[in-house]
Amino acid sequence: MKFLALCTCERVIIDKQGAHSLINIMLNAELQISPEQVPRNAVAPTQWFAYSMWMPSAEDIGQQFEQVYQVYWPDGEKFIETRTAFPQLDETVQQVSFGFYGLPVGQSGKLRVVTWLDKEGQRITEPVETSIHVKHLPKPTATPTSA
């Protein structure tokens, strides 16, 4: 399997023909922090997706693959690791959209999303990655109005 693409987005719509539509590519996430500071492990209850494309070779057809996802906090600690399995039924490009519920936002910096393919428990592709830059913004203060 040859890696073609990886990106993160807010939504993926998959139609009846299996075509994927990506909504709002996520490169930056900005937060306005409440006066009570959020903890460093804070997770926002929002859904987001990692979309990837893989080009099969002739020997990949009929094989079962497992895609591994890792998400790392800006400080390098792992936030989550998860997997999804898919069979490669034919020679068409494989599109995989994986939904995460919970966006780690407690730390300002680069949120790394790493993925690769396993087959029979063995890694068969190099890890590839993308990132979301999380930025903390001060919450705007209310300006006093004159009477």
């Binding site: 490169l27 996430a29 900005e30 937060l31 903890p39 804070a42 997770v43 209850p45 936030f79």
Partner: protein, 110 residues
């Protein structure tokens, strides 16, 4: 067989949440603590104390907020966060996620 804690929603309890078993995540002793307080009250107390792991080492990559969110109880996450998904090249679209305890989650597109 694994059981879910009705207070913090840790879903790998080795015993049912009863008979004085203690949740290693939130520390609730079932039959004792929940005789005096409701599960919701105990959850609020656990969160107010920082939602820390109670006993021993937490599972690898354990996150209390993700645990609440994935259990469908994101309303219990106490901090209010407004996340903007900013695109380069000037295109900008905001997703406001504002909630407080006991509020129904809502997403507002501006």
């Amino acid at each position: 067989m694994r059981y879910r804690c009705p207070v913090c929603f840790f879903d790998k309890l080795p015993y049912p949440p009863a008979d004085y078993h203690i949740c290693p995540c939130c520390g609730t002793e079932f039959g004792n603590d929940d005789a005096d307080y409701s599960h919701e009250q105990l959850r609020e107390m656990w969160i107010a104390g920082g939602a820390n792991w109670f006993f021993g080492r937490s599972p690898e990559h354990w996150n209390p907020w993700l645990q609440l969110i994935q259990a469908g109880h994101e309303y219990a996450v106490p901090f209010k966060i407004k996340v903007g998904i900013r695109q380069p090249l000037g295109a900008e679209r905001w997703v406001n996620i504002i909630r407080g305890t006991h509020e129904i989650p809502r997403v507002v597109y501006v």
